[in-house]
Symmetry: C2
């Protein structure tokens, strides 16, 4: 018998989704007959002991649960519209804490004009929030991971690393506004949000676009060490590739960290090939 621990998250997802249409971007993008917009869908779990510790501020737990999903919309340049949230909690869960979690959740939704329209509350052994999001993007304009081309510049929208240590993983602002602006400006070729660390996430773009990349450690905006920026994750900044420089009047912070190369899936840091290394659920 093989367990999830034996094969790891990525292999398990690959096995389960083998028969489905390509799943790989931060959201599913679905064209709707007769509509000017594509439908954009995503879901994210937030599990106590996995995505936050029991002593995290309740409002911040709710903030992170909503923020992760809103960040998925940002990653596509999409507009979030509706969220649903399934809450799981043991019977011993403190109701006041739950109300604060919910308040943190709805406060962030309101900031981005996103309405909470449903959900569920069930009994279970761990405290969890499962958030589902529905949004839209003008037909055919969603930014995917697959559009990067050799010669494109690589950018991030803010400093990276140390998000767990600093607590930023609980308080980050999802880059919904920036994502929409980047889609509208027209120079972005591929985009995603940074949830697993720059090195790991950039590989998703390389893989989907069948290209390579060279990045410079000096150019990476840092909240911690370079190692942390590459592998920590949960920065929830945007990572994108662009075929030209942003316009001079661009008032969104953008940091150019490298360029796309033609050698498929080869990622170099300061000229040296960077090895794979990343957190993966079910693997130690």
């Amino acid at each position: 018998m093989k367990t999830l621990k034996d094969i790891g998250e990525h292999n398990a997802i690959a096995a389960l989704t083998a028969n489905l249409k390509a799943v790989g971007d931060d959201c599913a993008v679905l064209s709707q007959e007769g509509s000017l917009y594509d439908l954009v869908l995503t879901s994210d779990p937030l599990i106590q002991g996995v995505h936050f510790t029991p002593d995290a501020a309740p409002e911040q737990i709710g903030h992170k649960a909503a923020g992760r999903v809103l960040s998925d919309f940002a990653a596509m340049g999409a507009e979030p519209q509706y969220l649903l949230v399934n809450v799981v909690a043991p019977g011993t869960e403190n109701v006041e804490r739950l109300e604060k979690v919910y308040a943190g959740f709805t406060t962030l939704c309101e900031r981005f004009d996103t309405e909470v329209v449903g959900g569920d509350l069930s009994e279970g052994p761990a405290f969890e929030l499962h958030v589902f999001g529905v949004g839209r993007v003008p037909k055919g304009t969603a930014l995917l991971r697959s559009g990067a081309r050799p010669g494109d510049a690589i950018y991030v929208t803010g400093p990276l690393g140390g998000a767990q240590k600093s607590g930023k993983h609980l308080t980050f602002t999802p880059r919904v506004t920036e994502g929409k602006w980047l889609r509208e400006c027209g120079f972005v070729t591929a985009m995603m949000d940074l949830s697993d660390g720059l090195a790991t996430d950039l590989r998703h773009i390389l893989n989907a676009s069948n290209v390579g990349a060279e990045i410079e450690s000096d150019a990476i905006p840092l909240n911690g060490t370079v190692e942390e920026a590459l592998f920590d994750g949960e920065d929830f900044e945007l990572l994108f590739t662009a075929r030209s420089e942003p316009a001079a009047d661009c008032d969104i912070p953008l940091f150019k960290i490298g360029s796309i190369t033609s050698e498929p899936e080869v990622l170099t840091l300061d000229g040296a090939v960077l090895e794979r290394k990343a957190f993966e659920h079910f693997k130690d």
Copy 2:
């Protein structure tokens, strides 16, 4: 400190959703600017030890997870289009079991032309599936709980009771086809699916419509005892009210079990007032 066990599921949901727009039907129905369809959204959890036992057949666990959400669409007369599923499992979870769960899930989705377009796999202490559904219904035609009027007849689409004992809760066919037909036929005034037992669910219609109801035990189609039909739950048949008889050529099984009365929220069985009694999460 108050816990969820102290106040129960319904009070907790009421406290959490106090600031939201009315949430109450099986799905949220949202009008979309410039579209001929309303957007229909729902989510349901399926948790080991709560909604199924560890020894349940894996394919049936997946079937039930999809079926609960598809039944929500049926309840509105809506057409399900897309599902996303967040899977939570401990690292010791058997991968082969998980593949069978997923196969049961996708097989039922395919039967109702519903596409699985995304989801997530995370580590957690219990085996859970959180399913999110997106669908549509022609603008303004969704069947709500709030349309029942005195004099309407009350119907169900199939035999009730004993769904846990018989295993039907794991193998039921969601009434998507029947729900769509009932919406199109135009004589239905209110509808929902039977997940918590006839007595408990009928009260939701009475409450939303501000009416009462009288039902006859002899008229209830049974899979178990009358008590089980009233309070067991998980039959996943449709419960609806109608202003006239179905057409003679209706080939969907329909069972008339009583009528709507004008006395708000008073439910009688064989002429005697029926007391409230129902399973509620967090309450013993």
